[in-house]
Symmetry: C2
Subunit: 162 residues, 2 copies
């Protein structure tokens, strides 16, 4: 297997490992659990879930797959901090949106060739990309994998309310 | 820049981003802070620090750079859970060991060619590696970067005791 193909495979494996581990964790958490803070005074589980669904949804336009699917997530889960917005979407909807955005990404990922993973993403101009070829689609996947791991570590601390 | 070289650069950037962010966070935490639990009933800051120092130290032999430097970290911070071992090394020593292991890795990383990153690591046999060429040194770096991000997300929750 060529090295660019291997690199893409390894990074996709790392991404799917994190997504699957988060899914498994989420499956053990009740809606009541998700309304609790992960630590005293910190973000609630619902905020982390909405935040990750929103950030993954935003990967679509950055990777040139298409428009965001759930623009309403941005204000409560990205622009604003937890508890700043009083009316949040219900948890069954957030759980569903989390699945939909990841499934959509998976569908698009499966269609990209290794070569395409090394082309620029939408947050960098063609001009800048000439000088900074590491600002490619694979690099976005690398940073979002770490972002997911970071918040998964926090979600794992959520106390179980039953 | 060739794609294998780019892949290695991107992954090393991701690694150093996490190490630096953890260093910055650690610099804001007092020894007293590190003796607290990150959330009620969960691991203490000292355990996360010792755990990460130990896991990074163990990357040396897996990547064939040499022996572990601090074998005494393994029992209290990897084999055992937090609070199972009553006598832990002092925090000034753990802070120092954390720096030493990362600096040692950086020195070795700088000497690896992109080609070498795609060679097998020590936890896979030559025979298995023939069939599973993704089990290479770069892949270990990918998984340890996510591991660090996971625990950094937790360490960020540590309450400040002053």
């Amino acid at each position: 297997m060529a090295h660019d193909q291997l690199s893409v495979k390894m990074q996709l494996d790392a991404w799917y490992f994190q997504v699957k581990a988060f899914d498994t964790l989420l499956g053990t958490l009740s809606d009541k659990d998700l309304m609790a803070e992960i630590a005293p005074g910190r973000n609630r589980g619902i905020y982390l879930l909405g935040h990750l669904a929103c950030v993954h949804d935003l990967m679509g336009p950055i990777l040139m797959f298409g428009e965001v699917m759930f623009p309403d997530l941005k204000r409560p889960f990205l622009d604003e901090a937890d508890k700043a917005v009083s009316e949040l979407p219900p948890l069954y909807q957030l759980r569903e949106q989390w699945k939909i955005v990841n499934n959509s990404l998976a569908t698009h990922f499966a269609q990209l060739t290794p070569e395409e993973w090394f082309t620029r993403h939408n947050s960098v101009s063609e001009e800048d990309f000439m000088r900074e070829p590491h600002r490619n689609k694979l690099n976005l996947l690398i940073s979002r994998t770490a972002h997911l791991a970071y918040h998964r570590g926090q979600m794992a601390l959520l106390p179980r309310k039953g």
